[in-house]
Subunit: 442 residues, 2 copies
């Protein structure tokens, strides 16, 4: 239960009590030449008796180490900020139609001033109403599909997203935007890359790393950029749109199967791995960075939205317990993607359970925990032994894309042989162009 001075203890609690301050109050702390003004936040982590946490007007939280020489002054109960969206501007009916499907995440969230945490709260429609520029460039059709933290996304959510996106495309959208929490957005973009075959228009995942009530929020730039790309982009692929650099005016569009979140908090957290982004939007202009992409409108949309759940992604490390692989076999797992070391290795103690999994009909694939480069199991005798057992090497495919693809390949229900055939095909750019043998640095 939250209480008036939640998480504060010892001398700091005493000082706050003496000043008659409660969590949620606007407070001024003064010491020496410094004065801080902000809303008193609760403490959550293992509490020390040193810091007072204030949310400043800028939206940032700071911790102030309380010194005896400091004074604490209660100013007033802070007004709880109300979210009052402006009225939605009138739409201009001759503009192209873009669908926004909201699934949750920071891009659709705001700080809850009573707990200090961020909560999923704002719908795409609300977001639209605070970014009125959008109504000048498109007729926006906005849906809330889910409102969940992206760490709670499951393969069943991917299926629902795929079906909703397909419906929007069939209803005439020029492009579909899916707002999504950044934590697992790369997994979802990979999933829809496989689930939506023969795409005629772009499907653009977009997120933000800073909630829209923060001055440094990337939500508006990323969303406006996505709407522009949904209308103008020549590509018809599943992509992921986020800040490209420290600059606030440049959005990169990464191929959905080749992208990873590489930073916990930076706005340009996403990077194309073993590949480059398809396009960049800068100063309002969309620039293609490659010629190698699917064109708009060339094909008939086909939905393949089934994912086999009994697929695991297993990272190997020294001290790894091969019993985990036995447990997967016991549970009837149909597929395992190994995240091996280097060129694609696991300790020899893993060979018996791997052999058992394959003998019992599972598909076992190899990827690398090295972020860049590609699996090559012909170089060392240990890799060759794994190949002989039937472990399938996956080139430069990202481990998480490999896991999603294996769920999808096995989800087709055509058995192990067909799943292996699909794993070897380059279906959505998940393999970079293969060189016959590696020569030097890549």
């Amino acid at each position: 239960m939250d209480e008036a001075l939640q998480g504060y203890r010892g001398r700091v609690r005493e000082a706050l009590e003496n000043a008659g301050v409660k969590v949620g109050d606007l407070v001024r702390i003064h010491g020496g030449s410094e004065t801080y003004e902000g809303i008193l936040m609760p403490r959550i982590e293992t509490a020390d008796d040193t810091y007072i946490v204030l949310k400043l007007r800028s939206g940032y939280n700071i911790g102030i180490a309380l010194e005896d020489s400091m004074s604490i002054e209660r100013l007033r109960r802070a007004e709880r900020p109300q979210f009052r969206p402006p009225p939605i501007p009138e739409t201009k009916p001759n503009l192209p139609r873009v669908s926004i499907i909201s699934t949750g995440g920071t891009i659709a969230s705001r700080v809850d001033y009573t707990t200090g945490g961020v909560r999923a709260a704002i719908s795409s429609r609300d977001l639209l109403s605070i970014i009125p520029e959008l109504s000048d460039i498109a007729v926006i059709d906005a849906d809330i599909l889910f409102s969940i933290f992206s760490e709670n996304m499951e393969p069943s959510h991917w299926s629902e997203m795929a079906r909703r996106a397909a419906q929007k495309i069939r209803d005439g959208a020029e492009g579909v935007i899916i707002t999504h929490g950044t934590d697992t957005m790369g997994y979802s973009s990979a999933a829809l890359s496989f689930a939506l075959q023969g795409l005629p228009v772009p499907v653009i995942f977009v997120g933000s790393q800073r909630s829209s009530d923060r001055p440094s929020s990337d939500a508006a730039t990323n969303l406006i950029g996505s709407v522009k790309a949904a209308i103008e982009a020549p590509f018809a692929e599943v992509v992921l749109a986020m800040h490209e650099s420290t600059s606030d005016d440049s959005v990169a569009f990464h191929r959905g199967t080749k992208v990873r979140k590489c930073h916990t908090s930076s706005r340009y957290a996403f990077r194309s791995i073993n590949s480059q982004p398809l396009a960049r939007l800068k100063d309002g202009r969309l620039e293609m960075l490659t010629d190698d992409y699917r064109r708009r409108g060339v094909d008939e949309l086909v939905i393949r939205d089934r994912f086999e759940q009994r697929v695991a992604l297993i990272k190997f490390y020294p001290g790894f317990d091969p019993g985990i692989l036995e447990w997967l076999a016991d549970r009837g797992y149909k597929g395992v993607v190994l995240e091996g070391t280097g060129l694609g290795h696991v300790g020899s103690k893993c060979y018996p359970p791997i052999k058992r999994l394959i003998d019992e009909g599972a598909v076992v694939c190899m990827t690398s925990q090295c972020l860049w480069g590609r699996v090559n199991m012909r170089v060392y005798s240990t890799g060759r032994e794994l190949l002989r057992m039937g472990v399938e090497p996956l080139g430069d495919m990202l481990p998480e894309t490999a896991m999603v693809k294996l769920m999808w390949a096995l989800g087709q229900g055509e058995g192990r042989g067909e799943a292996l055939r699909l794993m070897r095909m380059n279906i959505a750019g998940e393999y970079s162009e293969r060189t016959l043998y590696e020569k030097g640095e890549t």
Copy 2:
């Protein structure tokens, strides 16, 4: 069993048979304006009937797609290259003493021309004999401790390495070098960073990405650079020495707890993460890149070489089966390092088994699968819930370093409380300097 045309089938096999060629023969293939000469290699991977694989004089393997217009000519049985080290040069007894402990890996390997694979074969002493420059700068004392592929390293090997390194230091070495396979070298360097407390001299892990019989081998540069640093470096830490860039003359020295193998095959595969290398050796000169390091000879060496094996590193992803965590609890695991998403999250379905693990006395820690940045579980309500359960956030510590450290912290046998206390301390630079609260990009 290997056989004369191992792995070749169909029309390619037929063409090779007609030419009277066997694996291991020197062969010339001629077609159009191209001529290839090399040793016929066996095929291992799922065989096609298209490619002939030759090892060229350069050391590279190439695959040649057989065309009807091509001719195949057997030149002769290739001489099996013999490794004949030159005599070891006489040592100059007044030079500083450096110990080299060999554990295996590419730096101590060569291509086996009968199978085309790379085998661990060359001892440090052999390597020394083919890099005679070393005898001009140090009296080298070389030991073979193991000769294993690094994916087979276990925590027990870390303990042995720590004891052997300590013995060499007590015997008067100015620095200790450990040659190691690159796949798990970062795990081992982290392990010795904790196991060797109060180091008076540098302990330098060194590997190579290309075996020493290849023209592009990085073995000599890395080893010479390590010996120089073992003698000259002002730091007394466990570091990892590998190529810094595409240039062959620059070696970076990464802190053992902050380094990861980031590329499967490049020679500059290792990078310092959330940190910079301690030093660089370029054109024979050692340059310190930071002032923040342990100095030589300031302390008494203490060995803490026990690692608790019941510690797992678990990467979370959508579709993750929380049953894996239940299984760890069933098996009496003492510690779990979660590699969560973003700022340090896992799906809420994992909360019950996490709570159970903690209730049963295990230490559960959180790291991020985002390579850069740091865990911050105060931002979202889900992160705060994990903190309330007792999950320990590990800042910007690498997941693999966290796992090694937790094995070590629990290995001290002082129980959960002491292990948690150790996890929070910055013992070997595993935490970058903490900022009180994150402000903007890091």
